[in-house]
């Protein structure tokens, strides 16, 4: 500190004689710079971590996407943008991207709707509330992979419990038939995987919304009651708007999570048959077994898509985030 000031003032003296007008501005700028840099030592470890854990992998990913790397991991040299053009020429890409959109929208929308109801319920006082609140954590605490495997077996066309139940109810007429093969049919498989994704996303979302609900002051509700607002009106005019900051955060985290979701689809169908149940994240992995460079190119595209989604969403919800 001492040293810097000394040189600064020395420099100031020299320049002062030449340009009297500029002289008073310079030390101000220098001081401002020093002040701006002052927190750096405190921030450095965190910045270094971000650099290594976030920025460096992103750079590596981008580098990979421009290399010709075969399935054995041998780098055959620079490949320009050919990996990207190969990915864009891929006949599966359009359907994979469209499916990703549907998957993200369906899972996030259903999750938020169900969680809103759950949060409302759990915010009430009723006997056994503690137990029920704990129970909701179970799907969250269990490994997503494990949940997916359990669901896959429950849907087994020959003897899965869901099929046995549906058979006893008379809905599934025959085991091993087309109807019983839920995960074999791409459309049915998507429905079931959305169910599983919602199942594992609801606990977190519910707790995020529950935290939002409990932060709404009781006086507001009292005021509403005094003004004679009905239950529905109270919800729409008070609860819902005041819940928006919590909901924005919950939706944002879910958007990124669901877009990047891998284990559910990979465990239940492997993205098959012929990538007909792949989202872009799963498809990226399928590409990896054949060509790492192309897989890297798709990663870059996915990365871009996530950033765009997040930016659009943040922009649309600028106000609700400010309020929090």
């Amino acid at each position: 500190m001492q040293e810097t000031v000394d040189t600064e003032s020395g420099a100031q003296q020299v320049t002062a004689g030449r340009a009297a007008v500029r002289a008073p501005r310079r030390p101000g700028r220098a001081r401002r710079l020093t002040r701006a840099l002052a927190p750096l030592p405190w921030l450095a470890p965190a910045l270094a971590l971000i650099g290594f854990a976030v920025l460096w992998p992103v750079w590596e990913m981008f580098q990979t996407s421009r290399q010709h790397i075969n399935s054995f991991g041998f780098d055959l040299g620079d490949y320009g943008w050919k990996n990207f053009s190969a990915v864009f020429d891929d006949p599966n890409l359009a359907s994979v991207m469209a499916r990703t959109g549907v998957w993200v929208f369906a899972v996030v929308a259903l999750t938020v709707l169900i969680s809103l109801a759950f949060a409302q319920l759990f915010n009430q006082r009723f006997p056994g509330r503690k137990v029920v609140r704990w129970a909701l954590i179970a799907p969250w605490a269990a490994s997503v992979m494990m949940t997916s495997i359990v669901f896959r077996w429950m849907l087994d066309p020959n003897n899965g419990v869901i099929n046995v139940l549906l058979h006893q109810l008379g809905i599934v007429s025959q085991f091993n038939g087309t109807q019983a093969s839920w995960l074999g049919n791409p459309t049915h498989a998507m429905y079931w995987m959305i169910v599983v994704a919602v199942f594992v996303s609801v606990p977190f979302t519910t707790y995020a919304l529950l935290a939002g609900l409990s932060s709404i002051p009781a006086e507001v509700y009292e005021a509403a009651r005094v003004d004679g607002a009905g239950r529905l009106r109270t919800y729409w005019a008070i609860t819902f708007p005041l819940l928006r900051p919590a909901m924005t955060v919950a939706i944002l985290i879910n958007l990124m999570n669901v877009f990047n979701s891998f284990p559910i689809i990979y465990t239940m169908t492997g993205g098959g048959p012929d990538s007909q149940t792949s989202t872009s994240t799963v498809y990226m992995y399928t590409l990896k077994t054949l060509n790492i460079g192309q897989s890297g190119a798709l990663s870059v595209i996915n990365f871009g898509v996530v950033i765009v989604i997040v930016l659009i969403f943040l922009r649309a919800n600028k106000n609700s985030l400010k309020e929090s």
Partner: protein, 424 residues
């Protein structure tokens, strides 16, 4: 004050750097093998049994590795095996992470030879062992005229059928043509209660094998004179016929998502009328305990006009990698592992066929396996191009779609296009 903090930050930063450096660096053991310094070589193989049981191939290799270590105390062989469904992915991951095994069992050697990281077979195997390998399969390990891959275990494919279900459906003999197979499958499917007429596993586990049996039946195949002809008219007609079976409900639902192991265990459970299989189905049937040996039989696989004279013959190869320069240690171990006793032990464990002529001759008159052994000389093998490994992965991932709604010409056309463009 400030300087001290900056120093602390610098220490923190370099610690992070050091940590990252540690995790990515690998100790590289090098040595000639004959010296006294301890050497570790890694073997990565497929699991032909069930992981975690005494039936696991891990146990088989480990016992060889232990016996070998006793004879050569300075060489340790690390064994890792993994089931067939995850095998290609796991192997690719190891390669991509530059965590190279020294010996790989279960993958085609050509791509490794092309990359220049494989030892020639003659570099890691004694001349006598080399000469004892069955010629049909030894040829499969060739890359540009030099043998790199060493056949380790082999099998030929046949049609398994459930005699009980055949009797129940009023069928007298095993089908010899596609038309008969279709009629029989329809009759068996009519029994109901989840019974599958013909099990057609086109899921990722081994879709390339099931597809090949049907292609051969139509007089097609993956290649003609060494050039890929995946979308040939014969192959398309084979898949069109398979579609009629699937649409009529004579097979399981959505074959493109059903793995071979599922169909085999369903056959063992007595709910599948017919399924294509290697001798490896036998222990599954015995373990399930539902079918007596009089309840099932095997027959040559039916083709369009008659039974296949050139059935699918598969050999799983061993390839040794030169990345760690452990030639002499690898050579010692492979010569040790290829002893007749270990070959015989493997065959009796999994009911597969041997890769050596001497062991095959010994089994030719076996009541169960004789027929499979005799089919070896005329069997059709998979392509041995350097890019077959990639093409095979592509087939496993996509060919099931050809019976799940997409037109066979489109699916086979895409595979053909991939086969021609990849690996150039």
């Amino acid at each position: 004050m400030k300087r001290r903090l900056a120093a602390a930050a610098a220490v923190g930063l370099s610690a992070t750097l050091a940590l990252t450096a540690c995790s990515s660096s690998k100790s590289n053991t090098s040595g000639s093998g004959s010296s006294g310094s301890p050497i570790t070589i890694k073997l990565f193989g497929a699991d032909y049994g069930t992981a975690g049981t005494s039936n696991s191939t891990q146990t088989y290799w480990q016992s060889i590795a232990d016996a070998f270590h006793k004879a050569n105390p300075n060489i340790t062989v690390q064994v890792q095996t993994i089931d067939w469904t995850d095998f290609p992915n796991k192997l690719k991951t190891l390669m991509q992470a530059k965590d190279y095994p020294d010996i790989i069992e279960g993958d085609a050697p050509q791509a490794y030879a092309q990359a220049g990281i494989a030892y020639k077979a003659s570099d890691v195997l004694s001349a006598s062992t080399l000469a004892n390998l069955i010629p049909t399969f030894a040829k499969q390990g060739d890359y540009q005229g030099t043998e790199y891959g060493i056949p380790f275990t082999t099998s030929t494919r046949a049609l398994y059928y459930n005699k009980k279900l055949f009797a129940q459906a009023g069928i007298a003999a095993a089908p010899t043509t596609w038309a008969e197979l279709q009629a029989d499958a329809a009759k068996i499917a009519k029994i109901g209660n989840g019974t599958i007429g013909y099990g057609m596993p086109l899921g990722p586990e081994e879709a390339q094998g099931e597809s090949y049996m049907w292609m051969l039946g139509a007089g097609g195949g993956y290649q003609t004179d060494g050039n890929y002809t995946v979308n040939s008219a014969a192959n398309i007609s084979a898949f069109s016929f398979m579609n009629t079976l699937v649409k009529a409900g004579d097979t399981e639902a959505n074959p493109g998502t059903v793995d071979r192991k599922t169909m085999w265990s369903d056959f063992a459970a007595g709910t599948v009328g017919m399924v294509g299989g290697s001798p490896a189905v036998v222990p599954i049937i015995q373990a399930a305990g539902k079918l007596q040996s009089s309840d099932w039989a095997t027959a040559p696989f039916p083709g369009q006009t008659g039974t296949l004279t050139d059935p699918l013959g598969v050999d799983d190869q061993i390839v040794a990698l030169n990345v760690h320069n452990e030639q002499s240690a690898i050579q010692k171990f492979l010569n040790f592992a290829y002893q007749d006793t270990y070959q015989a032990q493997f065959d009796s464990l999994y009911d597969l066929l041997p890769a050596t002529t001497s062991a095959a001759n010994a089994e030719a008159n076996d009541p169960t396996f004789g027929a499979f052994v005799k089919a070896i000389p005329t069997s059709s093998a998979y392509p041995s191009n350097a890019n077959w490994s990639d093409v095979s992965t592509k087939i496993k991932n996509t060919i099931g779609a050809a019976v799940d709604g997409t037109s066979p010409a489109t699916v086979l056309g895409q595979i053909q296009q991939f086969a021609l463009s990849d690996g150039s």
